[in-house]
């Protein structure tokens, strides 16, 4: 601790040079602490990002055998959009729908755990987190069993007439959105829980004392106070959901592929790395724009 603060254990009246040395150390210490993280980010984020950005501007007529020439081919971007706009749109709409469903399921859940669960709180939290101990892939494959055409869920939905006699859930958009919702829900619930847990229940009582209806209390007190958690949670949910391709690959059909599937195909199957890189960059840019807009908007008093 004394290292960090630079005060404390040293005797008063130490030589001046010692003091200077301490000040010196205090100045570069934060940078030293930053070093591992910065080196990591540089090696595994900055360098690959630059590489990817460069790849997106390579001459698309190159090949693995002949190599790729850097021709600053900015037309790769419009070309990539022309090729994959249905999948790009689909990625954002599926992720948005899944996020809304996630909030509908996750908010009451987080609220119940944070405010009403009492001594069950920890157990319920473990229940939210426990599925993450198994692999993402296994969890998604498990949904194939649950949604199976001959499974009880589809049988039940057919019985009550929600699905036609030969209706199914697997290989439909519904299954993909459901998979996205399930897989990313913990990322939404945990930050929400963190901010709801800190919510002072006396504020809600006070709202009641001032004759606010429960609904009004929710919208005037609870929701605004949980906004930071909701914003962080929706972002942690939405961003990976947009880029996901496992759910579409395992639970979807040819018309539910998302942009991640196209990137995968561009790099591995079609051997068109410039297009894959351009799509990756586009995705990053669109997500960044959405996040900035969202955070700025929800960060102001208009929403809160």
């Amino acid at each position: 601790m004394s290292l960090l603060t630079g005060v404390g254990a040293r005797p008063v009246g130490a030589p001046g040079s010692d003091k200077a040395e301490r000040r010196d150390r205090r100045r570069w210490l934060p940078y030293l602490l930053l070093l591992p993280g910065a080196a990591w980010l540089f090696l595994f984020f900055v360098v690959p990002t630059i590489q990817l950005g460069a790849t997106s501007l390579y001459d698309p007529s190159g090949s693995v055998t002949a190599g790729y020439a850097m021709t600053w081919e900015f037309s790769n971007y419009p070309d990539a959009i022309a090729y994959a706009w249905p999948q790009i749109l689909r990625s954002f709409s599926y992720a948005a729908i899944a996020t809304v469903i996630g909030i509908v399921i996750g908010y009451p859940l987080a609220y119940a755990i944070a405010q009403k669960a009492g001594r069950w709180k920890n157990l319920l939290l473990v229940c939210v987190v426990a599925p993450m101990f198994t692999s993402f892939l296994v969890r998604t494959l498990a949904w194939k069993t649950i949604l199976s055409d001959n499974g009880w869920l589809v049988g039940f939905l057919r019985d009550i007439g929600l699905l036609g006699d030969d209706g199914r859930l697997l290989a439909t958009p519904a299954a993909v959105i459901l998979g996205l919702t399930y897989n990313f829900l913990p990322f939404l619930v945990l930050p929400l829980y963190a901010s709801l847990e800190r919510l002072d229940y006396r504020l809600i009582e006070a709202a009641g004392d001032l004759y606010a209806s429960p609904t009004r209390t929710f919208f005037k007190v609870t929701l605004p106070l949980s906004m930071p958690g909701l914003v962080a949670g929706t972002l942690l949910f939405f961003i990976p959901a947009v880029g996901d391709y496992i759910n579409a690959a395992l639970l979807g059909n040819t018309n539910t592929n998302m942009v991640g599937n196209v990137v995968n195909s561009a790099f591995l199957s079609r051997q068109e790395p410039p297009q894959g890189a351009a799509l990756s960059f586009l995705l990053m840019a669109i997500i960044l724009a959405i996040v900035f807009a969202y955070v700025r908007r929800s960060g102001t008093d208009e929403v809160v």
Binding site: I50, D149, P191, G252, N257
Partner: protein, 405 residues
């Protein structure tokens, strides 16, 4: 009280919420600067990956080093019933030759493995592997790129004598000197007899009304397209662009009509077993496994012809133990050894004479046409034509378009 105080924000939320236009600008400028300087760094693009025998010469130190490093797919070699870490045929090889084999199951996907070794092989650097096992088309790509060493088949008498005739002189390896089939398999039709009646042709699969939405095909372009080409009466080993387009249109129709539910890798197998899909294009090895659990799951080689594929062992450039590798691969072409391996892995055994060897120990398995196909079946199977890089990209692009990516 207007001056509401908020609970303290978590650092993450605070960071997110405190983004102002100024920080945004600063970030944009910084990333811009980064992109420009980074762009200068990588502005030269990438070099070609083509190698030739002259440009990449490998030394063989087998004489002094009795070691061998093999990379293969998981569950592709026999293991001891009692001790899964022991591999009987491999142990016997080590005892016989004194060559210590380091056997790793680190190939899970052709494309993924290609990505793993691409940079080394493009630069003519060692991959630290002496034997790699890859599917036909990937082996073909590596041969085309000049990344594999030519084997001295004169030193491989078993291989010369016992290789299945239909696997000799395949289109991508005309002189049979780069690729040694490890195991082969068929791509054909499969159905679950609990859910549907027998299926005999590719056309049935693509059009029969009772199968609508209960059919899958493989994401492996050569298998799916090879079967459709044959159903049109064309030869997958030798076809024209127009014939390929015909086949693609046929596939597109089946996708548009909702007949085909999905395109899959190996993951069709559990769906077929459960009956979620009634029929599919699948691989013989998987279906044998399913058939052991449920005899009503059956593999069908369509009348028009099935596709024969192999996983091939090859020696990559700069691998330092080529002679050891040749001894190793030749050992597995000894019929008795091949029979032991085939009894465990259940794929098509590419070794002539293994059937007779297996008949001594397990006559039932030896009679299985999907492990030891008879001549009638082999006569109807085809190997997909060797594609140039341009063709590969063109056909794969058309196929990926149909499967939605």
């Amino acid at each position: 009280m207007r001056n509401r105080s908020r609970p303290p924000l978590s650092p993450e939320a605070a960071a997110l919420l405190s983004l102002s236009r100024r920080t945004l600008m600063r970030g944009a400028l910084a990333s811009g600067a980064l992109a420009v300087s980074g762009g200068a760094l990588v502005a030269c693009g990438t070099k070609g990956a083509q190698q030739t025998e002259a440009s990449c010469v490998s030394e063989d130190s087998s004489g002094s080093e009795k070691t061998l490093t093999v990379s293969n797919w998981p569950q592709y070699i026999d293991v001891d019933d009692k001790d899964e870490s022991k591999r009987p045929t491999l142990v016997a090889f080590e005892q016989k030759t004194g060559i210590a084999v380091s056997y790793t199951e680190d190939i899970n996907d052709n494309n993924e493995f290609f990505g793993k070794v691409q940079n080394q092989l493009a630069e003519c650097q060692p991959t630290d592997r002496d034997v790699i096992v890859l599917t036909d088309w990937m082996t073909a790509r590596m041969i085309r790129l000049g990344w594999l060493q030519k084997l001295d088949t004169a030193k491989m008498p078993n291989f010369q004598k016992n290789l299945l005739p239909s696997l000799k002189g395949r289109p991508f390896d005309k002189n049979t000197e780069y690729a040694v089939p490890w195991q082969s398999g068929l791509a054909g039709l499969a159905y679950n007899g609990n859910v549907t009646k027998e299926i005999k042709t590719v056309d049935e699969l693509l059009t029969r009304a009772d199968l609508k939405g209960k059919v899958t095909a493989l994401t492996e372009m050569r298998d799916t397209m090879g079967l459709i080409l044959q159903s049109n009466g064309h030869n997958p080993s030798d076809f024209t662009k127009a014939q390929f387009d015909d086949a693609i249109n046929k596939l597109q129709k089946a996708v548009d009509s909702g007949q085909i539910r999905r395109f899959t890798g190996n993951d069709y197998a559990p769906d077929l077993a459960k009956g979620d899909i009634a029929a599919c294009i699948g691989w013989s090895g998987d279906i044998i496994q399913l058939g052991i659990e449920d005899p009503k799951v059956k593999f069908v080689a369509p009348e028009s012809g099935a596709m024969l594929y192999s996983d091939n062992s090859s020696v990559p450039n700069k691998a330092a133990h080529k002679a050891n590798a040749e001894a190793f691969l030749d050992y597995y072409y000894d019929p008795a050894v091949a029979a032991e391996l085939a009894a465990y892995v259940n794929y098509i055994c590419p070794v002539v004479g293994a059937k007779e060897e297996m008949a001594k120990t397990d006559p039932e398995l030896a009679a299985n046409p999907l492990i030891f196909p008879d001549d009638a079946l082999l006569a109807k199977t085809k190997v997909f034509k060797a594609l140039t890089e341009a063709e590969e990209r063109e056909y794969e692009a058309a196929f990926q378009r149909v499967i939605g990516a």
